[in-house]
């Protein structure tokens, strides 16, 4: 079963059914909030440093970075597709932006570069899926390596670091005691939730993901909606690239890669189904916070960094199981 090639009968949930399922959605979100509380409680009991204001804000800042990438991926998955290139897209966009800023141009030109590069890469993903009809995971997997290769080539093994304070404030700054990226996370959450719930475009994206054939027959321009979500996912990678670059104050060709697994895990733990049409950006926020807690917990408990891929891999597999349980019935007959 491949997202984007769902058989029509596989997940036929029509827009009209959503209102009835809202009660179920609330229960699922509450469950995730309880999970966050439990992980938080466990960490608070095992580490004195966890509940300090600085650390909590740090977790939120980490969550916001994961969320910015995961929000774009959520839209793609809701539309029945997938985007494996989000982290590599972040890497290349951040490296190019770093190059532009370091060359003496205005930081804002750097921001524009990052957003333009990432959106263009998203558009290429969209074209590969809609025009060449490639399976989404294959198209975006090839794009992952192409973007990563370009980033390695551009950087040539070097690091670019040291940016103006005004630019760095986007990642490290505080406003009324709360980190700037957290405001960004909140803004993206509100915008994406309104977009998906209350606009025709958003509803059509759900419909395409739930049943592309039914969506086509009801007059929705399926391919244009798919194109839109890949471009939005690209744009979010660019925004995340700017925030990440401003926070770490350095760019290198390996900066985005460790984010890929946590981001996918955050989307799935947030309750968005890999089979399209089911899930929400609000769930993804909770998933991002859970992943940020896991990573923060490993740091606080002094678990060596080498364990991180293993732990995140296990969390990702657990997240796919969550999807399986949430799906209700199996698509396969045996």
């Amino acid at each position: 079963m491949i997202p984007g090639s769902n058989a029509p009968e596989a997940t036929s949930r029509l827009p009209a059914h959503w209102r009835h399922r809202l009660a179920g959605d609330h229960a699922a979100l509450a469950l995730r909030a309880v999970l966050i509380a439990l992980i938080g409680l466990a960490l608070a009991l095992s580490s004195d440093a966890f509940l300090s204001t600085a650390n909590v804000l740090n977790v939120l800042r980490q969550a916001s970075l994961i969320f910015l990438l995961a929000a774009g991926l959520t839209l793609v998955i809701l539309c029945g597709g997938f985007d494996l290139s989000v982290a590599a897209n972040l890497t290349l966009s951040a490296c190019l932006a770093a190059g532009v800023i370091k060359a003496g141009f205005s930081p804002w030109l750097g921001v524009v570069t990052a957003l333009a590069c990432s959106t263009a890469a998203g558009a290429l993903n969209g074209l590969a899926v809609t025009l060449l009809r490639l399976p989404p995971f294959l198209a975006t997997y090839a794009m992952l390596w192409i973007l990563q290769g370009l980033a390695f080539h551009y950087m040539g093994g070097q690091e670019i670091f040291g940016f103006p304070p005004a630019f760095r404030a986007l990642g490290t700054g505080f406003l009324l005691g709360v980190p700037v990226p957290v405001y960004l996370m909140a803004a993206v959450l509100v915008a994406a939730t309104i977009f998906m719930r209350s606009t025709n475009l958003g509803q059509e994206i759900y419909a395409v993901g739930a049943n592309p054939e039914a969506a086509r027959l009801s007059g929705i321009p399926v391919r244009r909606r798919q194109m839109l979500v890949y471009m939005l996912s690209g744009l979010m990678s660019g925004i995340a690239a700017v925030v990440f670059l401003a926070r770490v104050n350095a760019a290198d060709a390996g900066m985005g890669e460790p984010l890929l697994l946590p981001v996918i895990a955050a989307v799935l733990i947030g309750g968005t189904s890999l089979f399209g049409g089911v899930g929400s950006v609000l769930g993804t926020v909770l998933g991002s916070i859970i992943l940020a807690l896991v990573i923060n917990g490993m740091n606080l408990l002094d678990i060596r960094a080498q364990w991180q891929p293993l732990v995140v891999g296990v969390v990702l597999l657990a997240a796919v199981m969550v999807d399986l349980v949430g799906r209700g019935r199996r698509e396969r007959i045996g």
Partner: protein, 322 residues
Amino acid sequence: MPVSASSRSVRRHARPLPAILPIGLLLVAGALLAVHGFASARNIANLGLQASILLMLSMPMTLIIMSEGLDLSAGAVLSLCSVVMAEVLASGHGLAGALAASIAVGLCFGLGNGALVSLLALPPFVVTLGTLGIAEGASLVLTEGNAVSGLGTDIACLYALDFAGVPFPVLVALATWLFTYLLLHYTRFGTYVFAIGGNRDALVLAGAPAWAYHIAIYAFGGLVSGVAALLLTGRMNAAHPTVAIGMEFDAIAAVVLGGTSFERGDGRLLGTVLGVATITVLRNALDLLGVESSLQVVSIGALILLVIVIDSLRRTRRAQAA
């Protein structure tokens, strides 16, 4: 078996060669003409060695992709197998024990991937991305991120052997090809591979234990990774925790270039072999021209796009002609 009879006749049905054949030949011609040192005897022997590990990984990858699957963990599992093999050798055990340990690790990952994909009907690319993380993490934890060396000379000697002029690695790779070919075309397992990709539900309804065969496809991938670790470790006489990560990209590219489809239970091993040859020639020629590895990846991506566009154009034209 009616399933077997019908799918065999479908397979015998003439299909046009994938677009990779003329492109690969053009590439070889270009390399012969334009790349200094490409045709030297030493470089040609080198090509065989470079192709051998990729050919091994690509064989099970073809079966996996034919079954509508994907294995993103292949490179990371190969690295882990190599690390385990090196650790066993470094601790003074023999080659046989090291190979057994490596195969055991590969099989565990293959069975795990297969079980999650087959029994729980989870999407293969996410499952194998998770196991990629687990294998990578396990390699890093085992080695603390460092290379493993001090393996003695056994494995290096084995790697350097040759039989009637055929180097050992090439022989192992060719044997893997032959084995996979026999498996695919002369066993029930092979027929079921076509059927799982074509219509898994029909196979289940026909009463076949599709789940078991589906697991076996991934287990075969793990097994081959375990054996391929012999070549990877022997080549460097050392193991590095992340050295083979990314090799799955070349293997998947070889399969896609060879014309195997993700959606129709349709594939050909010969196409994959041509894909492996093309990628090896491309990388080797770019190496000789001094083009760095990162841009080689970009060129392979471009090549995939080219072949896919040509194949889809030809399919459209054939559909119009029919």
